[in-house]
Amino acid sequence: MSSDIRFTDFKSDKQPTWCPGCGDFGTMNGMMKALAETGNDPDNTFVVAGIGCSGKIGTYMHSYALHGVHGRALPVGIGVKLANPDLEVMVAGGDGDGYSIGAGHFIHAVRRNVDMSYVVMDNRIYGLTKGQASPTSREDFETSTSPEGTHMSPVNPLALALASGASFVAQTFSSDSQRHTEVVKEAIEHDGFGLVNVYSPCVTFNDVDTYDYFRDAIVDVSETDHDSNDKDAARDLITDGSTEYVGVLYRDEASVPYEEREGIEGSMADIPDGAPEDAMDLVREFY
C-alpha cells in the first residue's frame, strides 16, 4: 500500500452524467477521500455498485469494481471480501437498490457483519427512471406512480439495520463534505459492516427532500450528548421520526467480523497446479 495516494487517484477519466447539483457528486467525493485517507489505493480496493443513478459510481471511480444487477450489490461485495479479506470492499447503491429490490440482502448483509462499508445514496425518489416513488419516499409524496401519495409508510433504513443486529449505523448529508468524509472513514475503519445512509438530494425529481429541507432539518449527533455505543439511545433517535439525524448513531466496539469468526484468512485466489496435496484423503473417507 503506497502512502502517497491522493483521492484523485480514485477518480476515473469518465465525467459523471449526474444532473448538475446532484447529491451523488458530494457523496462520491467523500467516498474517494475516505478511501485515500484510510490508506487504500485503487489496486487493493473493490467497489461494487448497484443499479440506478448511484450505480454509475463504479464508472466514475477508479479501482477494481463491478457494476452488477439491480439490488444484488451486497452479496457481490460479501463474496469479494470473503474470497480475499485483504481487499478493501465498498458497496454503493441507492435507496431503491438497497431498500426495495435488494431489501432482503440488506437485512442479511447487516446480520453477517462482514468487514466492509455500504454507502447508500438516499434521495427518496427513483431518479434514473424519471421520478417514481422509492421505498424511502414520504407517505404523502406525489409522483407519477403515486399521484395521491404512496399510501405506505417509508422504510426506515437505520431502524431496519439496528433491528437486524447492525454493528455500525450512520447517516450523512452529501452537501456537508467534511462530515460525510469523516463518517465514511469511520465506516471503513469499523471492524464489521459499516452502513452509511447518505441524504443525497435529487434536484430534478424530488422537490420535497431538498438541500434546503435537509439543511434545516438535520441534527449532527456529534454535536449532542448522544453516546454512539448506547444501542437504546440510538434506537430512540432513529425511531424518533421528527428529526433527521446525521453522524454515527450506533457503533458496536466489540464487533468481530464474520470472516474472522469463520476463520477465513488470506486470498482464496491462490491454488496449486493440481489437486491439493491431501486430496486422496477425501477419497479414502468413502471407504
Partner: protein
C-alpha cells in the same frame, strides 16, 4: 449381465430407512461387492413411504432393475409399493409383533419371515436397533458374512462410542441367529465376497469432492433438494483447504456471492435445483458479459414450479441452454455417471477460467442420490489438472494496458480471450459491468464497440469449440443399425439395457453425451444409423430437439417423466418395441 441381488428396506420417513440402507450398502462395499443404490422418498421430515434400495453384484452394476429379492418391510404399505418388483421366492422380513404389521399377508409364493425385530433389539440394548436386527436377518437370508456388517456399523457409530458399536453388532447377530434357528428355507441366494477395495459415494458428493480437487475455494448456496448434499459435503471440508461455504439468504444472493468471489479470483461455485436456477437466471447475463469464470450446478428434479421435489427429471436443459434475456455465451456440461460427476466438475472449472464464462454443470436427482461403488483409483487426484487461463500478473500487466495506461479486461483478442487481472494486482485496477462496455469495462453504446464486444464473446466460444475435446462416451456395437443417444444419468441403465438387448440379438450403438453446449457434432453417427433414438427423462424431448436442430433430421424419442428413473430392463423393452417392427418389415 451381473449375477445380482436386489435388496430394499422401506417404511415411513423418520424410521431410519436411509441410514440403515447406507449401512448395508457400506457392508457390501467393504465385502468387495459392487453396489448401486436408489431411494424412494417424499419431501417431508416424518411420515410418508420411503425406501432405500440396493442392487449388488461382484460385477459392476449401473442401474436399478424391476426385481426385488429381499425386502425389509417396516410398514404394510412397503409391500404394496413394491408389489410389481417382488417375485416368487422374494423374501419379506417384517416384525409381526408390531401392531400395524399383525395382519400382514405375505403374497402367494413369497417367503415371509416374521421376526420380532423390536424385541430382539431390546435384548441387544435398545429398540432403536430394530433395523440392524433386520440387517442381521438379511445377512442370513443372503448368506452374506456378517463380519462385513460389523465394519460398516463401526464406521457409522464409532463417534458414539464402542458400547454403541458393540450393541449394534450384537443386535445384528441376534437377528441372524433368530433367522437361522426359526426358519428352514432354501433361499437360494449367495453373496460372494472379493478382496477388492471400493469407495461408496453419490453424485452430489462426487461434485463436492471434484470442486475441492479443482481448487474451488468458495461455495455459496441455498439448501434445496436434491442439491443440498453438495453444500453439506463441502461444509467442514472446503475449510481445510482454505475455502468457505456460505449459506445465502436466497439463490439470488447465492449466485451473486459466488460472482463476487470469482471477481476476487477464487474458483467459485453455487449449486441448486430448478427453482433456484429460475432465480439465478437474473444473473446469468452479468456473469457472461463481465466475463467471470464461474460454475453453476443444477441438480435437476421434477418441475415445473415446485413439481415433484424428490423425483427424477431432466427438464431444465432448455433453461440452461437458453435461459436469460439477451444472448448469453455459456457452456453446459452434464456428467453421465457418479464418477463423471467428479471429473466433469474438475473440467467445468477449467473451462470456466480458460474461457471466462459461466459453465453450467447439470446433474440430476438420480445421480445425486445414487450411492455407487468405485475402485478408489477412479478418483486419482494425480490426474487432476488445473488450467487457469489468461490470468496476468504484475510482470505481464504492462502489455495489456491501453495508451492511457488502463487495464483492458475485455480486450478484443483474436481468439476472444482477454486478460484477467485479479484484484490486488498492481496497475490492474478496472471495472466491469453488465452494461455493454468497451475494452476497459466502461459503459458504451457505441455501435462499433458493441459489435466488437458481442463478436469477441462469441469468438471465445468458437475458440473453445475448436480447442477442446467435446467427445462423447460410446458403448455397445459401433456398427449397429440402431443408435441410441442419451445424456445425464440414463447412461447407467442404458449400458445395462445393451446387455438385455444383446441377449435378444438386438445390437445397439449407444452414445452418451456429456457436453450439451457446445456439444459433439453427431451428423455422421446419425447418418450411419438406420434408427436414432434419444432417451431422456422429460416429456418434451429437450435433448432430442437440440439433436434434430443440429442434424436437421427427425429422431425417435423415448421419454420418461413419471418421476422415476429408467430401469435397465424397462429401457431395453422400450427400445425393443421401437426397433423390432422394422426388423419384421425387413
Amino acid at each position: 449381465m451381473p449375477d445380482d441381488l436386489n435388496w430394499a428396506i422401506g417404511g415411513e420417513a423418520g424410521d431410519g430407512i436411509d441410514s440403515t440402507g447406507k449401512i448395508f450398502a457400506q457392508a457390501l462395499s467393504r465385502a468387495g461387492r459392487h453396489v448401486y443404490t436408489s431411494k424412494d422418498f417424499a419431501s417431508r421430515i416424518r411420515g410418508g413411504y420411503t425406501a432405500y434400495k440396493i442392487r449388488s453384484s461382484v460385477d459392476r452394476v449401473e442401474s436399478v432393475v424391476d426385481r426385488l429379492d429381499i425386502l425389509i418391510a417396516l410398514t404394510e404399505r412397503t409391500i404394496d409399493e413394491n408389489m410389481d418388483e417382488l417375485h416368487e421366492g422374494s423374501v419379506i422380513i417384517y416384525d409381526g409383533e408390531r401392531t400395524t404389521m399383525q395382519d400382514v399377508e405375505i403374497p402367494e409364493g413369497m417367503i415371509g419371515l416374521d421376526v420380532p425385530l423390536k424385541s430382539l433389539a431390546e435384548d441387544a440394548g435398545g429398540a432403536i436397533m430394530r433395523n440392524v436386527v433386520a440387517l442381521g436377518v438379511a445377512c442370513e437370508v443372503s448368506d452374506f458374512p456378517i463380519e462385513n456388517l460389523d465394519s460398516a456399523l463401526e464406521k457409522r457409530f464409532k463417534d458414539k462410542g464402542q458400547a454403541i458399536v458393540d450393541n449394534n453388532s450384537k443386535a445384528a447377530r441376534l437377528g441372524q441367529e433368530y433367522a437361522a434357528e426359526q426358519f428352514d428355507y432354501d433361499y437360494g441366494y449367495s453373496m460372494e465376497t472379493t478382496d477388492n477395495d471400493y469407495v461408496l459415494l453419490n453424485g452430489d458428493e462426487a461434485i463436492g469432492m471434484g470442486a475441492i480437487a479443482a481448487g474451488c475455494r468458495f461455495y455459496a448456496g441455498y439448501p434445496i433438494t436434491p442439491a443440498t448434499d453438495v453444500m453439506e459435503y463441502l461444509t467442514g471440508r472446503i475449510d481445510q483447504f482454505g475455502g468457505t461455504v456460505v449459506q445465502a439468504e436466497d439463490e439470488l444472493a447465492a449466485i451473486n456471492l459466488a460472482l463476487g468471489a470469482a471477481r476476487a479470483g477464487a474458483r467459485s461455485m453455487t449449486a441448486t435445483s430448478g427453482p433456484g436456477i429460475d432465480l439465478m437466471t437474473e444473473t446469468f447475463g452479468l456473469v457472461a458479459t463481465s466475463e467471470t469464470p464461474m460454475v453453476i450446478c443444477d441438480v435437476m428434479r421434477a418441475g415445473p414450479s415446485t413439481g415433484m421435489p424428490t423425483k427424477q427429471e431432466q427438464g431444465d436443459l432448455d433453461m440452461l441452454v437458453y435461459g436469460g434475456h439477451g444472448e448469453i455465451e455459456r457452456m453446459v456440461v452434464g456428467p453421465t455417471s457418479v464418477a463423471e460427476c467428479f471429473w466433469k466438475t474438475v473440467e467445468a472449472f477449467n473451462l470456466a477460467e480458460k474461457y471466462q464464462l459461466p459453465v453450467f454443470l447439470v446433474s440430476d436427482l438420480s445421480l445425486a442420490v445414487t450411492e455407487q461403488t468405485f475402485p478408489p483409483e477412479t478418483f486419482d487426484m494425480d490426474e487432476v489438472e488445473i488450467e487457469r487461463g489468461n490470468v496476468v500478473d504484475e510482470a505481464e500487466i504492462d502489455s495489456w494496458l491501453d495508451e492511457q495506461g488502463r487495464f483492458q479486461p475485455h480486450f478484443p483478442a483474436a481468439d476472444g480471450i482477454s486478460p484477467r487481472a485479479l484484484p490486488g494486482t498492481t496497475d490492474g485496477a478496472h471495472m466491469t459491468t453488465g452494461l455493454e462496455h468497451d475494452a476497459n469495462g466502461r459503459r458504451t453504446e457505441d455501435e462499433e464497440i458493441r459489435v466488437e464486444q458481442v463478436e469477441k464473446r462469441s469468438q471465445k466460444f468458437e475458440t473453445a469449440r475448436e480447442r477442446e475435446d467435446w467427445d462423447y462416451r460410446e458403448f455397445g456395437d459401433p456398427g449397429a443399425e440402431t443408435l441410441v443417444l442419451s445424456w445425464g444419468s440414463n447412461e447407467g441403465p442404458m449400458r445395462e439395457a445393451l446387455d438385455f438387448l444383446a441377449e435378444d440379438g438386438i445390437d445397439v450403438r449407444f452414445i452418451s453425451v456429456p457436453y450439451l453446449l457446445p456439444r459433439p457434432d453427431l451428423s455422421e453417427e446419425i447418418a450411419a444409423a438406420e434408427t436414432t433414438i434419444v432417451v431422456e427423462c422429460n416429456a418434451n424431448g429437450q435433448f432430442a430437439d437440440l439433436i434434430e436442430h443440429d442434424v436437421l433430421e427427425r429422431v425417435e424419442r423415448i421419454n420418461k417423466f413419471t418421476g422415476v428413473r429408467f430401469k435397465a430392463d424397462e429401457l431395453a423393452e422400450e427400445i425393443r418395441r421401437l426397433v423390432e417392427p422394422q426388423e419384421v418389415a425387413q
